[in-house]
Symmetry: C2
Subunit: 339 residues, 2 copies
DNA sequence: GAAATTAGCGAAAGCGTTGGAAAAATGCAA
DNA sequence: TTGCATTTTTCCAACGCTTTCGCTAATTTC
């Protein structure tokens, strides 16, 4: 009843040969006769032999597994990055295990720890918004475990990184708003611990400056999450200003959706009275009325690229000296929520 | 430069004791003197010793890893189930690896294969819509590898299963539409290979019958995906009928969002002229205008329960004879898209 | 026909860890 | 000091696999 899975030794015994012979037969080793090879392969198929990867990994000191750590998988953004990673890594026969930090430094650290003890071959990490100390990452580097950072930067740590040029995307968005005639452009910014949010805010300011629009601190509100509810309060605040904005550029689509909800509730017309541009191109964004203008990010490609760099590191024993920092280009998608 | 990770043997040598002593010291074995224990622990910390789980797993024939296979992770539905699984499993010190079948039988099969050769301790599977043969699952059962099916049923295979009572949820939704005065209720149904879609269709029919509303085949349109674009065509078809429906119950929120888009485009008022009810309670649903009525499913709980059952199987060596089939209850959430 | 080469296979070590059994070291009473 | 019990440590096997080395027997070469 309790069927044991066949091992190489089982097959060897049954065939009256040594385990090494069986191993060689299964691995197409040249020093083996056609006859024994055929016999071994036949019995192996019959017994449904599957090599024990644990034993192999122990021997080879390689697990063919990479660890991917993201703040959350529920968002379309990260699940799409994960898809990219998955698709790149699969042809290599590599699996991935996913960890969710829930934007917590402690959780992130503990996941790194766990994955390291599982002996993953490498890491792909997008740090949590809380992560300010990088000791856990440094320790990977010191142990010579390949690591690629993506999407969110860890400044001051020298390692392969893959980003989207958020600055460029945000700049495009704000400049578009200016060129479409908006004068009072607000920004619902994200947590400033995130490099991505910082870049977007910076781009916002720079775009205003380029077009000689004075910066008004009242028009920048910060929010700490990415879902629609985080857009509610900030938008209310903006609408209650003496001279409310005529455009809002939000940290992402989720927040933009919250913003649109509040604005429509207040009976204000989008885009006639207020233009909105989000970020991320969430798949739902098209289906709102009006449909949401946004900045598309090559998330899938980012996953692929990060994974490709990691695989290279792993396969070259991590001793390529040159560190790669890559930037991918986002794209403004104008839809109904902006003029 | 190329720092090797310290092994138990390294520590043993450096300390001039045997590896077993080190092992016991690290594991708090009673038969070890305070003095050596302290010395070992100190050096272990110094060398940043981390046990090699590979070796351990090989010995224990347990990987402390479970395999989770879902049709896709990008949907909020499944990522939320995954969260439930993750949260349950973590305190056990168990990791999970995630596979995406992309609704393909072949991919699903290949993932099962891969995960099995990694020697995961158990499986949590929500089968793809294409999966009609269960040979890959049977083979797990035969090899005595614990397996729990969730969300989507595989009829005829006798194993632990966790579902949401879709029938009940759909029935509630349709009955609500009837009671709110709708007479011509349509249903955009999902792929009938899916047990979930079948149950919803059945509930739709039964609810109509219960209230003596004749079934009209024109009012049932099938669609094969879950995102908004899959709602476009079916809705157009429904609207073009001689007597268009005054309510649409859709297979999920994604499709409902597509439907609302088409309906609003046609200048038809929701819910005055057409009521809409979706399924899944996608987090975006609240923020549409009108906000989408829907059937909430306990996805997180489903993940937890499925994982709990799996862990039990794993920890009892899979020889509990009683098979569990559990059903969780969904809940109708009435919002603005229905009267 | 002897020597050299080569094909085919087995024995054994090793990957890092655990745990039962045996051995060594220690403590204590006689 | 001896004997015995107890504590502490070492030895060894095991997990499943690969691979080096060495051996035998067959084949080739001169």
């Amino acid at each position: 009843m309790k069927k044991k899975r066949a091992t190489i030794t089982d097959i060897a015994e049954e065939l009256g040969v040594s385990p090494s012979t069986v191993s060689r037969a299964l691995n197409d080793h040249p020093a083996i006769s056609k006859k024994t090879k055929k016999a071994v392969l036949k019995l192996a198929r019959q017994r449904n032999y599957q090599p024990n990867l644990l034993a192999l990994n122990l021997l080879k000191k390689r697990t063919n597994t990479i660890g991917v750590i993201v703040p959350e998988i529920t968002s379309h953004f990260f699940s799409s990055v994960i898809n990219g990673i998955q698709d790149l890594v699969k042809p290599f026969g590599v699996n991935m295990i996913i960890g969710q930090s829930n934007e917590s430094y402690e959780e992130e650290k503990s996941i790194v720890q766990t994955f390291a003890s599982i002996r993953v071959d490498g890491f792909l990490i997008s740090p949590s918004s809380e992560t300010k100390k990088y000791d856990h990452l440094e320790s990977l580097i010191q142990n010579n475990i390949p690591l690629v950072i993506f999407d969110r930067d860890c400044e001051g740590i020298d390692i392969d990184k893959v980003f989207v040029d958020e600055y460029n995307g945000a700049f495009q968005a704000v400049e578009y708003l200016i060129q479409s005639g908006c004068k009072r452009i607000a920004h619902i910014a994200g947590s400033q611990t995130l490099s991505t949010a910082r870049h977007r805010l910076r781009a916002y300011k720079d775009a205003l400056e380029k077009h000689s629009i004075p910066f008004n601190a009242d028009y920048v509100v910060q929010t700490d999450g990415f879902s629609p509810e985080y857009g509610i309060e900030p938008t209310r605040r903006l609408l209650s200003l003496q001279t409310p904005p005529d455009a809002i550029f939000t940290i992402n689509d989720g927040v933009a959706i919250g913003a649109m909800y509040v604005i429509k509730d207040a009976g204000i017309k989008i885009p006639e009275e207020i233009s909105i541009i989000g970020f991320d191109d969430d798949p739902h964004s098209t289906y709102f009325k009006p449909s949401l203008s946004t900045v598309w990010q090559p998330t899938y490609e980012m996953g692929m690229l990060a994974a490709r760099i990691l695989m290279k590191r792993i396969n070259t024993n991590n001793d390529l000296s040159k560190i790669r920092v890559e930037s991918l280009f986002p794209e403004l998608i104008v839809r109904g929520s902006s003029m």
